[in-house]
């Protein structure tokens, strides 16, 4: 399944990532960094030492105090962006969900590049991915950090459906640590959010192959939704509790996802 390039381009043109006021690490850019740089924004003074650039001497202060001091300026960077993509089979449980994930990843990469960052797309428990050729064939049912080390001080965006049968607190703490900005985007199919009360049915787990014959009625659906909400709340609590940003995204065309889920949650901002 291919990314809807037009929708991605439109979304990239209309929105940008909501990076907030955090200080980042990264290449030279237009976002405040952690250290001293060459921006116009004053940062601090320090005593002159031989070898310092005389152009940064505070001549006015020397005139007042006859002490040689150097003016320091704020560093400006384009933050690192690591998109951590859950490539398990469940991410493509429906075509709509798979398409939504493709579009969302494409938009995240586009927004990162538009902001001067070079985004990496890393598979959970795997390595770097080509955003245009993502295959959802992971067999693991439990999340795991990517095989490559994550860059510190950057932006990390976790794209997953979060439908993990076991607790993922340890995983989340590891991916949350040392990130300047963290987004957890939980993509769910509309049927997963609100199944039809379609009667007797055999449900097949797309990851484990487990089959279960259930009678989907209103009561069953309600119980399911209750468990799903608890599962999502657990993820959200874990993310928000560690300073991250959580957004539950219903698989839909990219524009709809941006307007209804990402924008309200603060994950993106209008240009």
């Amino acid at each position: 399944m291919a990314t809807d390039v037009a929708a991605v381009a439109e979304a990239v043109a209309r929105y940008r990532l909501g990076l907030g006021a955090q200080r980042f690490r990264g290449r030279a850019g237009d976002r405040r960094g952690h250290g001293v740089g060459s921006s116009q924004e004053f940062f601090d003074f320090r005593d002159y030492v031989p070898g310092d650039d005389l152009r940064h001497l505070d001549w006015r202060g020397y005139a007042r105090t006859e002490q040689l001091r150097i003016r320091l300026h704020q560093e400006e960077v384009a933050p690192h962006v690591d998109v951590l993509l859950d490539t398990s089979v469940s991410m493509a449980s429906t075509p709509a969900k798979e398409q939504a994930v493709h579009d969302l990843v494409g938009a995240l990469v586009g927004w990162s590049e538009r902001q001067g960052s070079r985004a990496r797309v890393l598979a959970l428990a795997g390595g770097p991915l080509d955003p245009s050729r993502v295959a959802f064939d992971g067999a693991a049912t439990a999340p795991a950090v990517p095989a490559l080390p994550l860059r510190t001080g950057g932006v990390r965006i976790l794209v997953t459906d979060g439908l993990w049968p076991d607790a993922a607190g340890t995983f989340l703490r590891r991916v949350l640590s040392s990130a300047a900005r963290f987004f957890a985007l939980q993509v769910l199919d509309p049927w997963e959010l609100e199944p039809d009360a379609a009667g007797a049915m055999t449900l097949v787990d797309c990851e484990t192959g487990i089959r279960r014959e259930v009678h989907l009625d209103a009561r069953t659906v309600a119980a399911y939704q209750g468990r799903l909400d608890r599962l999502c709340d657990t993820l959200r609590t874990e993310v928000v509790g560690h300073g991250g940003l959580y957004a539950r995204v219903t698989a839909a065309p990219l524009a709809a996802m941006c307007e209804h889920d990402l924008l309200p949650s603060g994950a993106i901002e209008p240009q």
């Binding site: 469940s90 449980s93 997963e192 055999t202 449900l203 797309c206 089959r211 399911y224």
Partner: protein, 590 residues
């Protein structure tokens, strides 16, 4: 293809059962979801009922139908090579007691067993004996048994049946296919084979012994001992000659179970038969007796007239009997000579010479090997022996000082007696020891006289005939004419022998068909004549796997079907494993 258990084919009903299961198999709409575990605890569709649906031709259906068919075949025990021929080994007790009523009960029992066999089955018939003997077969068709069975005449004395039973066990596929026909209680150690005993305890009279003795007054004397076992008392005994003429018919009185009878026979009476009246066992009611032949030693005297006179041999041989002078040295058993010749096989040559040297006279003491048959009884007391100085060759039999007086030398197959004697002086030839020496020589040579070694034997013994060994003589080829008229070629070199298997008078015929001797064989075994311990009993084999049905070895077919069954089961499991595994896993999580 045939089946050992055709009812096993009923298991083929499992095939429609499998189809029915697939017809009513529950099939719901499937949906792939990301988190089945979130549906845990929901009401499962277990009571929704099952309705007939379209039959899906899935690999699982075909595999399960194939497994049901293979299972049915496995239970039915298919045999692709048709029914394997059953091989049954019948062992006939060949002891004489089996011949009661002309062995018809045993034959009937065998025929009954033969009728149970199929035409393609195989049969081997053995008869007991010192060594198991195959009467029919091995692996003959049942139809080939009857001729040999009709000719079967059990006549052996009591013997051990185990050699024949061991052979039968080796020949048969299993010990349960061995059937032993006897008339006695089951021997020890044959519990794993069928035993059919058809004996009947009854009384019987038997001729225990019958012998002919020569009387000094001429003629012979016949001594017969008759025994009666059980409630039977023969009252008469008949003696006939070979032509069937009745010679003597007398009454006998059984006392303490036995009676003795002595009958004089005139000189020249040929073979005779002693008969008792008919009773249960016929073989011991008749005893043939042939006259013992006169074994006349042929003596060839090659001595010079002077030597014969000095040695006084005319006087010596005149005092001895049982010999005749024979001018041809080739046919003589004893040869007298002054010089060493060429004794033939079985011939004894006596060389009496002192050589050409000086003579010494010896008064003794003489050292004599009195253990030698030639010197039995020789004393040499008061004998003056004039001997030459040259020592004769061979083993010393008599010596004086360091002088060998008589030696024995083995020459080819014959023997030579050297007598170092100069009869011109001394008194040996006038002593009693001189004729005693020649009497011993004649007795020694008598056993080498051609003819029957024994004229009367009992069944099972060897009838032996000593022939002349003269090249191109008529007895170079000998045949034995049995009582039933059949002839059997004799084998052997110096002595030809045949095993006595039939009671009656046997005739030894030479190459020209002339009768060389008559040898009588009779049955003698009191334990077989006593029929009081016979039983009728059928003992099944301890491990009767074969049963009465035909034996089919379907091991290979069953193994092949079992392997196919296993492969199908594995394939079905491989097909169903994902679904089964997920269901089981799901329930475990539940």
């Amino acid at each position: 293809m045939t089946f050992t258990a055709p009812f096993g084919l009923l298991a083929l009903l499992a095939v429609p059962a499998v189809v029915a299961l697939h017809l009513y198999r529950r099939r719901l709409q499937e949906r792939r979801v990301a988190a089945v575990f979130l549906f845990v605890g929901e009401r499962l569709v277990t009571d929704a009922g099952r309705t007939r649906t379209r039959l899906l031709r899935t690999p699982s259906l075909w595999l399960e139908c194939l497994m049901a068919a293979l299972l049915a075949l496995w239970l039915a025990g298919p045999s692709f090579g048709g029914i394997a021929a059953r091989h049954v080994v019948f062992v006939l007790d060949d002891s004489a007691s089996m011949s009661v009523a002309d062995a018809e009960p045993a034959r009937a029992a065998v025929r009954e067993r033969l009728d149970d066999l199929r035409s393609q089955d195989r049969v081997t018939v053995l008869r007991t004996g010192p060594r198991g003997e195959i009467l029919v077969g091995p692996r003959a068709l049942p139809s080939e048994v009857e001729p040999a069975l009709a000719d079967w005449r059990p006549a052996r004395p009591r013997h051990d049946p185990l050699p024949a039973l061991d052979l039968a066990r080796e020949l048969a596929t299993s010990a349960a296919d061995v059937v032993y026909f006897t008339d006695e209680p089951t021997p020890f150690g044959i519990g794993e084979i069928h035993v059919v005993a058809m004996g009947e305890a009854q009384g019987n009279a038997a001729i225990l012994s019958a012998q002919r003795f020569r009387r000094a007054a001429g003629g012979e004397e016949l001594r017969v001992r008759v025994a009666a076992y059980g409630r039977t008392a023969p009252s008469a005994i008949t003696i006939r000659n070979a032509q069937g003429a009745e010679l003597v018919r007398g009454a006998i009185q059984i006392t303490d179970g036995a009676a003795d009878l002595t009958v004089p026979l005139p000189e020249g009476t040929g073979p005779i038969v002693v008969e008792l009246p008919d009773d249960a066992l016929a073989i011991d009611n008749e005893a043939w007796l042939a006259p013992e032949p006169l074994r006349t030693v042929r003596v060839c005297d090659l001595l010079s007239a002077e030597s014969r006179r000095r040695l006084e041999l005319d006087r010596v041989f005149a005092a001895l009997d049982g010999h005749v002078l024979e001018p041809d040295a080739l046919t003589a058993q004893l040869v007298l000579a002054e010089r060493a010749g060429h004794p033939l096989a079985g011939q004894t040559e006596v060389v009496i010479t002192a050589g050409d040297g000086e003579r010494d006279g010896w008064r003794g003491p003489f050292v004599v090997d009195r253990g030698h048959p030639w010197l039995v009884g020789l004393q040499l007391a008061g004998v003056v022996w004039l001997a030459g100085s040259a020592a004769p060759p061979g083993r010393i039999l008599a010596a004086a000082g360091n002088r060998a007086l008589m030696t024995e030398e083995f020459v080819a197959a014959g023997r030579r007696l050297w007598v170092n004697l100069d009869a011109a002086a001394g008194n040996l030839v006038r002593s009693p020891d001189w004729p005693l020496l020649f009497a011993n020589l004649l007795d020694s040579c008598r056993s080498e006289v051609p003819g029957p070694v024994q004229a009367n034997v009992v069944l099972g013994e060897e009838m032996r005939f000593r022939r002349t060994l003269v090249a191109e003589s008529a007895d170079a080829e000998l045949e034995l004419e049995l009582p039933d008229g059949t002839r059997e070629l004799g084998r052997g070199d110096r002595i030809v022998g045949w095993i006595a298997a039939q009671p009656g008078l046997h005739r030894v015929l030479d190459r020209d068909g002339l009768e060389r001797a008559a040898i009588a064989a009779r049955f003698h075994d009191p334990s077989e004549s006593d029929l009081r311990g016979l039983v009728t009993r059928t003992v099944a084999a301890a491990d009767d796997q074969a049963g009465d049905g035909p034996l089919r070895d379907t091991t290979i077919e069953r193994r092949l079907l079992g392997l196919l069954l296993l492969l199908c089961a594995l394939a079905d499991w491989w097909v169903l494993a994902p679904a089964l595994g997920s269901t089981m896993l799901g329930r475990r999580r539940q």
